[in-house]
């Protein structure tokens, strides 16, 4: 039964991983706006568009 100790440790580590992922997502502003990304993902770039400049570098507020 001592394998339980390892299993519990693993499950807690895994859970902590998810918690830190959650904290990171809040910190990077993903919870600030829950509407715009749903629209943004549907945009297509025009076929003849030049190299898109760096729109992903976000102004962090």
């Amino acid at each position: 039964m001592s394998v339980m100790f390892i299993l519990i440790g693993c499950s807690l580590l895994l859970a902590l991983g998810f918690l830190s992922a959650f904290i990171w997502s809040v910190k990077s502003g993903q919870m600030d706006d829950d509407y715009t990304p749903s629209v943004r993902i549907l945009f297509d770039d025009a076929p003849q568009s030049e190299t898109p400049s760096d729109v992903t570098s976000l102004p962090k507020t």
Binding site: A15, F22, F43, D54, L58, P59, T61
Partner: protein
């Protein structure tokens, strides 16, 4: 000439408005004005036509071209510094609030703004807040260029004095999300680890795990206790210090006792404790808090004159024009005010023909003519040519802004009516403490070993979780439903306040009347098409509001040129068009004897080649459903009317308000404020409904201030509720719904009290097990959440709000 009817059916490719005035074909599309066409050309030149593919006619009409001088104040280094959120040599960041943003095309275009201005390095939209976050290279472009570009595209950023004075970022919301996340994480894991205990599985392993599980639970509870629940302790402590018993006190007490007792049990090896209930309780409470915190991000309920006033003004110094921030304007400065600009401070007219529209300040709807040397109060909007003024008072000292020095604005608006939750929690806390001590006392006599056990069990089980959840969920749901119907409420507590009101005070101009839609009729011989065209050509030369109304009434395109034109201020205008001499104006202007009862409406007479053709009658129209609204509200509410206007509409308004002494005219902003305070001093609970800056004082002083607005992206004065003008006829429904919501809260309190009584009956006997608590607590919370949410939604359906 016969194709005019057809033209009306053509809509603009850019903005979707009908091309009533002119029609400009380009690229197989039609445009309603030069402005829209320019935007289209700019976009198609830059390969940005996807803008038109995402939504149909996504633009906003561009009737007024952007003047290149409009944003010259954005070159001022000091103003730039205050607007930017970050700046170094290579990058500057700024956040604009863009009220006209309304669809996915807007998002697309605004995020591709870098294609139109190479200096922009990144643009991100936050649609719900209508914010555009821009980062740009200050060496390649400037703030002024970006703002001018946005305005040309029809996305004029709203930049106001408020932005300069304070920039507070709300981080509260993020903190709450962290707290919920942490509490949820701990709650789930503690439950998981407590499972063996629930099912008695640990007896198979002879208890070897129970100690380990206990300690893991203890560790997992630490962040819940010290991080997630800390706000409850702070609130409770504040309450105790100000001798104010709120629901936070029994909550904090319950959380504290649960944690301490569980820690003791685990460390002393007596049991596994109540950590699961503890984490779950905090988790549910925070969810309730979050649900209630829903705010309408795009609306500001705190705006004062500062967000209405311009940010900068043109000042004449040494015969040259410079722009100065309004705040640094000093007495004696000479300022230039152009057409449609606001006068920022009380000033004396030096030069020019001043027609000042004070509708937003005084409620008087017709523009006032001012003569040289007269003092013009701040807040008026010049209509017509550029005027020159000398500032005679500082911005903060002017007639209008002094209203904000009234104590109604300085006092913290602690609601005058105690909320039901506050009322109940006071008695609840008292009863809880009595029961806890009584059972402790009883057991001290009967079996001292059980005394502490019973005492803590009472505090734990009576922790009013369900009680604390019922208000947030009922009010939060109601707030969402009302928000869907364009009745935006500042905070959930306002709904409860609304339910207690017994008096309604209306403002007239802009609130009961519809500013844009004055009804206009022509009386006299029917006008021929030629005559219509002649009149339209002449009135299109004048910027007087009446001329504009007649012009839009006539709907003519291809206007003729006017050879001579003479405008007599306040009377009328005459001129020659196509060899016909035309005079348009008041009866006095055309020497027509006027009937005595004529002051109910405005009449504009028409004379072509000395033939009197008839007159246009312009009436103020009252909002749709005003009759029904006042009739429906009469049984429950005392209704009053305050108007800044003169008494000419009194006769018309009496049928709506029944009693003449309920109508008050020529009320200054301070009079309105005083009137509300007087009503309150006779123990009335007052709702004030208004729209302009002149109502700001009254809106603030009233128990609930409702500001009504044609478009929620426009300015509205500080208030508790912002209501869309188109929903005015629904007002009685909203008020009735707020009363029903209160009933839901009452019912859910009874439910949660019943759970508490069941729990307490076990607790006082000292037989409360952790497992029982772990089931009862979430069960009661979920029951209350489901009950309040469903019944509030059902009641809204019944009341006609879908």
């Amino acid at each position: 000439m016969g194709n005019q009817q057809l033209i009306n059916f053509t809509t603009c490719f850019h903005c979707g408005e009908s091309c009533a005035i002119e029609i400009l074909p380009y690229d197989h599309h039609s445009f309603c004005c030069k402005g829209c066409l320019t935007v289209y050309q700019l976009l198609s030149d830059n390969n940005l036509c996807s803008y038109y593919n995402l939504e149909n006619a996504p633009g906003t009409q561009q009737l007024h071209p952007v003047l290149s001088s409009s944003y010259s104040y954005l070159d001022d280094e000091k103003i730039i510094q205050q607007l930017l959120t970050y700046k170094d040599e290579n990058i500057a960041r700024v956040i604009f609030f863009i009220p006209t943003m309304h669809c996915s095309s807007c998002i697309w275009l605004l995020e591709h703004i870098y294609k139109l201005d190479g200096g922009v390095t990144g643009a991100r939209v936050q649609f719900m807040k209508k914010e555009l976050h821009i980062s740009y290279n200050p060496r390649q472009t400037s703030l002024r260029k970006i703002v001018t570009l946005l305005s040309r595209l029809g996305y004029e950023p709203a930049i106001s004095l408020n932005d300069l004075e304070k920039r507070v970022q709300k981080d509260d919301n993020r903190k709450l999300i962290y707290q919920i996340g942490v509490a949820g994480f701990c709650f789930g894991n503690i439950m998981l680890i407590s499972f063996p205990e629930y099912f008695g599985l640990d007896s198979f392993t002879k208890g070897s795990f129970s100690k380990l599980f206990g300690y893991i639970n203890l560790i997992l509870s630490l962040p819940v206790f010290f991080f997630s629940a800390r706000d409850y302790f702070i609130a409770a402590w504040k309450g105790i210090r100000s001798k104010f018993i709120s629901i936070d006190i029994p909550l904090a007490l319950g959380i504290l006792v649960m944690f301490v007792r569980s820690t003791y049990e685990v460390v002393s090896g007596h049991g596994i404790g109540w950590f699961d209930t503890h984490a779950g309780l905090v988790f549910f409470l925070l969810i309730g808090k979050w649900f209630q915190q829903k705010t309408f991000d795009t609306l500001s309920f705190e705006r004062d004159y500062k967000s209405y006033f311009p940010i900068a003004v043109t000042v004449l110094r040494d015969n040259s024009e410079t722009t100065l921030p309004v705040t640094s304007l000093s007495i004696g400065d000479r300022i230039l005010i152009r057409n449609n600009e606001l006068i920022p401070a009380d000033a004396i007219l030096l030069k020019g023909d001043a027609h000042i529209d004070f509708s937003f300040v005084t409620g008087e709807s017709d523009p006032m003519h001012k003569v040289l040397g007269e003092i013009i109060y701040a807040g008026g909007r010049q209509i017509g040519h550029t005027i020159e003024l000398e500032v005679c008072k500082k911005v903060s000292q002017s007639y209008l802004t002094q209203l904000w020095n009234n104590e109604a604005f300085s006092k913290d608006q602690r609601s005058s009516i105690e909320s039901f939750q506050q009322l109940v929690s006071r008695y609840f806390t008292l009863a809880l403490l009595i029961i806890a001590f009584a059972s402790a006392g009883w057991w001290l006599v009967m079996a001292p070993s059980l005394a502490l056990n019973a005492f803590t069990a009472v505090l734990i089980i009576a922790c009013p979780c369900a009680l604390a959840l019922s208000s947030p969920f009922a009010l939060g749901t109601a707030m969402r439903i009302l928000g869907k119907h364009q009745f935006y409420i500042k905070s959930p507590q306002v709904i409860e306040q609304l339910a207690h009101m017994d008096t309604i005070v209306f403002d007239k101009t802009g609130t009961l009347t519809q500013p844009s839609a004055a009804s206009i009729h022509f009386h006299g011989k029917e006008l021929s098409l030629v005559e219509k065209k002649l009149i339209a050509s002449l009135v299109s030369q004048s910027i007087h509001p009446l001329s504009q109304k007649i012009k839009s009434f006539l709907v003519q395109s291809n206007l003729l040129s006017v050879s001579t034109l003479k405008e007599t201020t306040g009377k009328g205008l005459s001129g020659t068009v196509d060899n016909h001499s035309i005079s348009i104006g008041s009866a006095a202007f055309l020497n027509i004897p006027q009937a005595a009862d004529d002051n109910l409406s405005t009449k504009v007479y028409i004379d072509i080649d000395n033939n009197l053709l008839g007159y246009f009658q312009v009436d103020h129209t009252y909002r749709k459903g005003l009759k029904e609204v006042t009739d429906l509200l009469r049984p429950t509410y005392e209704q009053y009317l305050l108007s800044g206007d003169n008494e000419k509409e009194k006769e018309k308004l009496i049928p709506y308000f029944k009693e003449e002494n309920r109508l008050f005219f020529k009320q200054s902003p301070a009079d309105k404020l005083f009137f509300i305070q007087q009503l309150q001093s006779t123990n009335k609970h007052v709702i004030m409904i208004g729209d302009g800056l002149n109502d700001a004082g009254a809106l603030r002083a009233a128990n609930v201030g409702i500001s009504i607005t044609e478009s929620t992206s426009h300015f509205s004065p500080a208030s508790d509720v912002i209501m869309s003008a188109s929903m005015f006829d629904k007002l009685p429904t909203y008020l009735a719904f707020s009363k029903n919501t209160l009933k839901v809260i009452h019912a859910s309190f009874i439910i949660s009290l019943m759970y508490n009584i069941v729990g307490l009956s076990f607790a006082v006997q000292g037989t409360l097990s952790p497992l029982f608590a772990a089931i009862l607590m979430p069960l009661s919370s979920v029951t209350v959440i489901v009950f309040t949410t469903i019944s509030t939604t059902l009641l809204s359906r019944k009341g006609g709000l879908q």
